[in-house]
Symmetry: C2
Subunit: 142 residues, 2 copies
DNA sequence: CATAAACCTTCCCATTGTTGTAAGGTCAAG
DNA sequence: CTTGACCTTACAACAATGGGAAGGTTTATG
């Protein structure tokens, strides 16, 4: 199988496949005499694994860990669970951060009349240089 | 005011201040004869504005828009509101995406016993190559 | 005054993950 | 045997930030 076909079959672009190979996430695949990469079903299988992990927001490093665990027949499922749970924790942090941003911004938007007049609490909120005004920007100063 | 002091006062590193200047987000500030940047209160005010917008997750490009609106005394507050609301929309998308990931991952984690045994639904879920198994990965195929 | 510490300057490199492009080699079909 | 569709490597770019080198300036101290 060519890299193009492997790309289609796995959902990872040829570019990225080469990149993953170059950084050692996947081991180098076989080559034809002329240098073309040849992908086996097993290779594509691994690529699909990566594709799924990537869709779940795992970093390349984390995918490396997962791949290693995947390929290790004797690992304990607890190890895998730990990686996954750590990642859930990271996702939670990101979600929380975005939600905080969202809430602050919405608060500002709610107070902006949004008409022709130039007066706008959103900009004043962003421009606030003292604690009183800028307090409006704090979501939860916990 | 030096760049170091401006950095402290605004919460933006000196590195980033220079960067923002280099890409034109802020206009070049005055210099001493020997080439040191001198920041006025107004300059620092703008930097603080940027710092807040950045904390709210605005991209450099969006911050450029906001800055322009901020400095335009005659803009309609509706214009600002539109930018802010568009950004809320973006935040919502990101949040949704992360929540979807989180839920899928949690689903997998819930089904992993997490003990010594090597059998692990998380890895099988990631490795699924057919629709039946991979359906477990879909959160809401709406 | 001399020297050292603490600044500042520009320039380049690394990061993460991905895409684009250029220059060239190969393969299959007509 | 040419054309087009593939493949190869290598390099640059993106966003936003940090790190460091090499060198100039200012300030504080002996």
């Amino acid at each position: 199988m060519n890299i193009g076909q492997a790309a289609k079959a796995s959902g990872i672009s040829g570019k990225m496949i080469r990149y993953y190979e170059s950084i050692g996430l996947i081991s180098p695949v076989k080559r034809t005499e002329s240098g073309y990469r040849i992908f086996s079903e097993k290779d594509v299988h691994a690529l699909r694994f990566i594709s799924r992990a990537r869709d779940l927001g795992f970093s390349v490093e984390q995918m490396g860990n997962l791949l290693a665990l995947w390929q290790d027949r004797h690992r304990a499922s607890a190890d895998v669970k730990a990686v996954a749970q750590a990642h859930i924790g990271e996702l939670d942090l990101k979600i929380k951060k975005l939600q905080d941003m969202r809430q602050t911004l919405e608060h500002l938007v709610d107070h902006c009349h949004g008409d022709e007049r130039p007066d706008c609490p959103i900009l004043s909120g962003l421009a606030a240089d003292n604690v009183e005004e800028s307090a409006e920007l704090d979501v939860e100063t916990s």
